[in-house]
Amino acid sequence: MKDTMHVAGIDIGSATSKAVILNNHKVMSTTIIETGPESQGSAESVMDETLRKSDLRLEDMKYIIATGYGRINVPFAAEVITEIACHAKGVHFLFPRARTILDMGGQDCKAIRIDDGGNHVAFSMNDKCAAGTGRFLEIMAGLLKVPIDEIGPLSLQATEETKISNICTVFAKSEVSRYLRRGVSKANIFGGLHAATADRVYGLLKRIGIDADFVISGGIAKNIGVVKRVEAKVDMHAYISEEPQYIGALGAALLAIERTSRT
């Protein structure tokens, strides 16, 4: 094997685009940007930025794998692989004993079971409704004018979780406004919203069966409010990496290494 072998993984999600460059299993650089209206444009900018950070050029990349919901719009990728496989791979690399993964992003939420080789052996996904997704929480954060990274901690201060009875994002929005006007605290409202989200994802997890170790990945993993509530529901500690949003891109890059080492 050569001493340097650069590969890249790129994850075009519905909310954010992420890229990771690896040199033999060592992370060279990472970037995260918001996914713009054009998946292809986002793919190019996130890649450029990541290359720039590690002073490399696209030609230096031995293999690039794209994943995420915009994966087909990455012209420079050699291969596309589903988010499910990439998250499985990425999580396995960071937490070799992980068996159950909850990956929550902007629009989708997936429960994945993996084996001891980091391969997914079962998975379930949310349906065609925005209820209880990352987008749902984002919209609510916007409505209550709380920065997205503060809603989780805030929700933990709830003295009583306000019951959110509407599953529809739009209806929940006005339900929340009504509570707000009635003087219910933002903490309690977020308590309720996070509980509702945790309930929905717990349903997905149950379908595949939950085994230790349990890992949460994707943007929502940064939301302590959801994490704590899901942990309580599954009655297990959830392992979370420092940068949970990169796991899909990392997994893609790891798979890229596998591809190149095979040939």
Partner: protein, 389 residues
């Protein structure tokens, strides 16, 4: 007084456990009003209806798709959670596809408290008893066929209890059941007046409690209650007279009664299995007891039965009679999502209500949650206001 019924229904599991402890007798669960309860009762068994909880599902989601009727899923979940661990047996009649599947789900997944007794691979003390109730209710061989089924059920029960169930005991059970039915019918009669003597919700609660407690006790309590009510001359609030038709009606779904009453309506009669369907048909005492039971269930106006017309004759006659006798102003159909048989017959039934009876109809598709019910409030209010003009 009616608090007794409400209390019994609310603490049903405790109440039954206590009863079991006190009497030392067995308790069987069942799913549908087609269950030949009298046979169980004659064998010293307390038959109790299995219902759901309305609480979030804990286990059932892993085995049964969320499309299936939420009531049945909740029942299974309750079973999986051990809420029904006091049952010595479970009776599953073939009342709808989902209930039929409980034969498998309950048998394969719900932890059973009794041990199987295998002889040549056959469990002679089965925990789940399946009753292949015919869907056709008239036809040359329907009665003999069903009699065989009931005989088979009785034999299975005898084998697993290791005792015989003499006809005389079944006849006695039938008369206990008939007395209870007579009292319930009397209660329905008292709802014919305007305003009715008791509210729809109270009446439902009484019928519902009857599915959970020993029938002789229920009949006696009810008799006292109705006597008191008659002498008091109290009435329920006046309201638009509603006919309620729908799927399984347990503690969760029954919230619909309250919503109707809040909106200015009053349920005075119904087409429900926790309602008229359960008691309208008396058992004849002159024919052999199993035949009496068979004839009763074949005569019951149930939506899942068939006789080649969209609405079987007996069922339509029953509907016409009740709507007229009870002076119905309007009908509300509260059908659970994915309750296929009821959903499929609804449009035709609705047209008949409108065209032949001149009764306006409101359709509500329930999801077996309290929030879901709340979301119907606006429509119920609009509907009742529409009738008031």
């Amino acid at each position: 007084m009616d608090k007794i019924f409400a209390k019994y229904a609310a603490d049903r599991h405790d109440a039954v456990r206590k009863w079991k402890q006190k009497t030392g007798k067995r308790v069987y669960g069942y799913f549908c009003c087609m269950t030949p309860e009298e046979i169980l009762y004659a064998a010293d068994i307390l038959p109790v209806r299995i219902t759901g909880t309305g609480e979030p599902l804990e286990h059932a989601d892993a085995y049964i798709q969320s499309n299936a009727c939420a009531f049945a899923r909740s029942c299974l979940d309750a079973g999986l959670r051990g809420l029904y661990d006091y049952l010595d047996g479970v009776v599953v009649p073939n009342s709808c596809d989902i209930i039929f599947s409980m034969e498998y789900f309950w048998r394969a997944l719900v932890p059973r408290p009794t041990k199987p007794a295998l002889i040549a691979g056959v469990d002679i003390k089965p925990y789940v008893h399946y009753i292949n109730y015919p869907e056709k209710i008239i036809g040359r061989e329907v009665l003999p066929y069903y009699l065989e089924i009931l005989k088979g059920f009785k034999q299975e029960l005898e084998r697993s209890l290791n005792r015989s169930i003499p006809d005389a005991d079944i006849e006695r059970a039938i008369s206990v059941y008939n007395e209870d039915k007579a009292q319930i019918r009397r209660m329905y009669e008292m709802r014919r007046s305007d305003p009715p003597a008791l509210s729809g919700h109270d009446a439902w609660q009484i019928v519902y409690a009857g599915l959970l407690m020993p029938k002789d006790e229920h009949a006696a309590l009810l008799k006292n209650y109705l006597d008191d009510l008659q002498s008091d001359g109290q009435t329920a609030p006046e309201g638009v007279r509603i006919y309620l038709s729908g799927s399984a009606m347990d503690l969760v779904n029954a919230g619909i009664y309250q919503i109707i009453e809040d909106s200015g309506g009053q349920v005075v009669s119904d087409d429900l299995c926790v309602g008229t369907r359960a008691f309208w048909y008396n058992l004849k005492q002159v024919v052999p007891p199993l035949e009496a039971i068979a004839r009763r269930s074949l005569g019951t106006a149930c939506p899942r039965s068939t006789v080649t017309t969209a609405i079987p004759e007996n069922r339509w006659t029953h509907i016409v009679n009740t709507t007229q006798n009870f002076n119905i102003d309007a009908a509300i159909f509260y059908v659970l999502k994915c309750c296929d048989a009821r959903l499929a017959e609804f449009p035709h039934l609705r047209n008949k209500f409108r065209e032949e009876l001149g009764i306006p109809v409101l359709f509500l598709e329930g999801d077996y949650t309290v929030e879901g019910l709340e979301q119907m409030r606006g429509r119920v209010e609009a509907f009742i206001e529409m009738i008031e003009g």
